[in-house]
């Protein structure tokens, strides 16, 4: 039976879901792009404001657990979704065809992500993961007149379905052995060492989630989908979706001890190494910025898998810090691509030549991009360095030398393509200019958001203490 306290605990989720309903009704009544975007943004801000009310949780609603990790991830989900809404408004202004449904899909997916990070039950996990994924098919194929966008949507649909099958099979195996679906029950039912069925179930779940995280070798869909999807959808995929799935994977590892049995740890270690190196190597010669960022995000989640392997309190803290730094950085990098591609005009401006000499035309936009790429590369004084510092520290603290070596090697390889993009921004312009941002980009909200993100990247890099305190405080309260 739900009590009022329960309702307060899931208030952000309720707010976001009702915003989706309001947007839907609004679209049915009268279409207005600006108002729709505004309502969506307002809903997300309200959800953000409601988050502190839910914590510390006075109750535990069924199937969910609102602990430190959930609140932390929820905040990140809402902030990323908010930035995506702002950038979508910029991007969709020139879109021919209905614009408003994009926000509807986005809000539904955000609600799914919010539920996912708090799920404490395999059924809840599955339902919210699907709630997150289904709208994404629509978002990716949103500009369906462009062939690539449609292709991206279909590809993601097919591979997601495959991943879902893995996930369900894994859950079924675990249920068959333990008779429980809630995490505490699953963990409790297991007194002796896990047998082959349990391990197979856990491995299948890891594989299913690994598809969503585009862990090598389940990454094949990533570059095409990143390239084909409209830029805001790609941003959402790279930030909210990955973040939520990663958090739930971490929750599984923390809650159910058999995930940290030796065999699975070895498996995840190997996957992590493959992902770090594979992502970076594949990105080396990419000339398409969105594909390059796709590979780069693969590599970043490879680094982050170190936290899954280690799976202790420091790992939770590392996850929090790394996700924050990854999010601000990725939002800024993709944000520039979105802005340059706005307003929508067929294909996105994602070829590297488009950005050649950007600094001499748009110094501040190029500065945002430089800062975000420095941060992706993990150069000191940017947020990315703090994230990388945490990952290496975690590996060193737990004496995982293979993984530490992988992070170092991956970073060294990664530098090559990050530098290549960065220097392109400063090279002399060849005289041909195909796409450019609108002249007033800096005074519009999308541009201001990007500059704010760049400032945040620098501030987090120079003075990370408040962020670390916040994450440490919350991860201390994770069950």
């Amino acid at each position: 039976m739900l009590t009022t306290a329960d309702l307060v605990t899931v208030l952000p989720l309720i707010i976001v879901a009702s915003t989706a309903v309001i947007v839907m009704l609004g679209v049915a009544w009268r279409r207005n792009h600006a108002v729709t975007a505004l309502v969506s943004a307002a809903g997300l801000v309200l959800g953000l404001l409601a988050l502190p009310l839910t914590f510390p949780a006075t109750s535990s609603p069924p199937l969910m657990q609102v602990d430190g990790l959930a609140v932390m991830a929820g905040t990140l989900v809402l902030v990323s979704a908010l930035v995506t809404v702002i950038l979508s408004h910029h991007y969709l202004t020139g879109y021919i065809g209905p614009k408003e449904e994009f926000y509807l899909l986005l809000l539904c997916a955000t609600a799914g992500a919010l539920a996912l990070v708090a799920s404490d039950h395999l059924a809840m996990l599955f339902i919210s993961l699907e709630l997150l994924s289904m709208p994404l098919y629509g978002m990716l194929a949103y500009s369906f007149r462009a062939e690539r966008s449609l292709e991206a949507g279909i590809k993601y649909l097919l591979l997601s379905a495959a991943a879902t099958a893995f996930l369900l099979f894994g859950m079924a195996l675990i249920y068959a052995r333990t008779g429980y679906l809630d995490l505490a029950g699953v963990a409790g039912a297991l007194v002796q060492a896990p047998d082959a069925w349990m391990l197979a179930g856990a491995a299948l779940i890891v594989v299913g989630l690994g598809f969503k995280l585009s862990v090598v070798p389940f990454h094949l869909w990533t570059p095409d989908v990143y390239q084909g999807g409209p830029a805001p959808a790609t941003i959402f995929l790279a930030t909210v979706s990955k973040l939520a799935v990663f958090v739930v994977l971490l929750r599984l590892v923390l809650a159910a001890p058999f995930f940290s049995s030796e065999w699975l740890q070895t498996l995840i270690t190997v996957l992590a190494l493959l992902t770090m190196l594979g992502g970076n190597l594949l990105a080396l010669f990419q000339a398409n910025l969105k594909r390059l960022l796709g590979y780069s995000s693969i590599a970043h989640f490879g680094y982050l898998l170190v936290a899954i392997v280690v799976g202790n309190a420091l790992a939770t803290e590392t996850t929090g810090v790394y996700l924050i730094t990854y999010l601000v950085t990725t939002l800024a990098a993709f944000g520039v691509v979105t802005l340059v591609s706005s307003p929508f005009g067929g294909e996105d401006a994602d070829g590297l030549p488009v950005y050649r000499g950007l600094f001499w035309r748009r110094p501040y936009l190029a500065a945002v991009m430089t800062v975000s790429f420095l941060s992706l590369a993990g150069i000191p004084l940017t947020a990315g360095f703090i994230g990388k510092f945490y990952v290496i520290a975690l590996g060193v603290a737990d004496s995982r030398w293979w993984l530490v070596g992988g992070v170092v090697a991956g970073s060294a390889i990664g530098l090559y393509y990050y530098l290549r993009v960065m220097v392109t921004l400063y090279l002399p312009e060849p005289g041909m200019r195909r796409r450019d941002v609108t002249n007033d980009w800096g005074s519009r909200i999308g541009g201001l958001t990007l500059m704010a993100l760049a400032v945040v990247i620098l501030v987090l890099g120079i003075y990370p203490a408040p962020m670390i305190d916040w994450v440490q405080g919350l991860s201390g309260l994770t069950n």
Binding site: I379, F385, I392, V396, L415, L419, L427
Partner: protein
Amino acid sequence: MILVWLILIPFLGGLLCWQADRWGEQAPRWIALATMLFVLVISLWLWVTGDFAFPQGAQNQWLLEWRTSWIPRFGVEVHLAIDGLSMILVALTGFLGALAVLCSWHEITHRIGFFHLNLLWILGGVVGVFLALDLFLFFLFWEMMLVPMYFLIALWGHSGSPGQTRIRAATRFFIYTQASGLLMLVAILSLVFIHFGNSGEWSFSYDVLRRADVPEAMAPWLMLGFFVAFAVKLPVVPFHGWLPDAHAQAPTAGSVDLAGILLKTAAYGMLRFGLPLFPEESRAFAPVAMTLGLIGIIYGAVLACGQQDIKRLIAYTSISHMGFVLIAIYSGSELAIQGAVVLMVAHAFSSAGLFILSGQLYERIHTRDMTIMGGLWGRIPALPGFTLCFVAASLGMPATANFVGEFMILFGTFPTAPVVVVIASAGLVLAAIYSLILMQRVHFGPVYRQGALAGPDWREYIMMLSLLALVILVGLYPQPLLDITAGLSASIAELFAEGSLADVAGEVR
């Protein structure tokens, strides 16, 4: 607080230069020059007013110290301190920084403001490296100065032969140094976690970590982590691949900074962190390090003889000279370590002089290829004479600073490693050969093309004369340098001589 300003001034000056672009071409140049002179004046003022007569083994070796908490979660502090060695190197940074601004006065003609932003940020990062005592902060500056250097080479550099573009050179420089830097980060973190495991206290502080009790199985690996990072930057021979290209492709100011200051950060890192943190392991490692130094001396010198690009030739001589520094550092003798400091300063002057001269030649004849120079002695007034002076300094002619440094290194190392000294002396002969080859090919020999070229203007005269004066001054009277680094070299020599005993003493204290 003055230490914070030493770091902040170049950074703020750089931002100002960037914005000053809109006030005309000359504004960024004058601002950059004023900034670096300001840094120079502050450091010289500290030098003059400071008291460096430390009693041996004193508790506090720092002249000035400034610390404040930064990331309490890991006990990271902003901890700056200055002693004799840092003082010399900061002053050197200010001086060479001003020269770098001066020598690009006519060379850099586009995007002047952004160029000076990068130049000053490199120098700011270098000053930070020389002042940081917290290992996290040290690492931060160590890595941070790479980014502007990358842009300096990639955007304003010269493209060499086909396939050897400046961007490639810059990328290689960046990847070499960054990857090795990450190894140092791993070593630093291991040290910190070991200390945390022992004492339950987070700290990145130099003083605290020096007393950390590292398990014997780990210590050599951690020492290697530091060594590789410094060896790449110095550079020591198997890790030198980035240097010739970076030098050849960089603009003159970039080469001056690279050879004059950036290479010195590595030697500084060894003296300040590498040896004191791991005295025993360093002593065990000394034969290997000295061998690497020897290889560097010979290899650099031999390859220098075969170069056609004048800047590549000078770059290889740097490898050779830094081999001497490496030998001195690992000899553990007080005299040799002081010699290393003198040689570092001397090499900064002489290589900066040669790089500036080759930049000036390039401005006049638009080539760095020595095969099509020849016979310039009669065509340019004054410059060949200056070249002769700096070449003489580079080959270690008595009365130049380089002679003092090399002499002290060889003399100081002889008691511990006579064989090494004997072989290293052969390097001096090779130094004479490559120096004379440089002189012969460029300024003597058959005249390649006729016609007089412009002589140096007042700006070039000032640069050359000031450098030359310093080379000779240090060559004739090196005592001030020796005085203020005496405390440091004595303490390192002491650590080295009785590594284990010093550790015990540290714990008792």
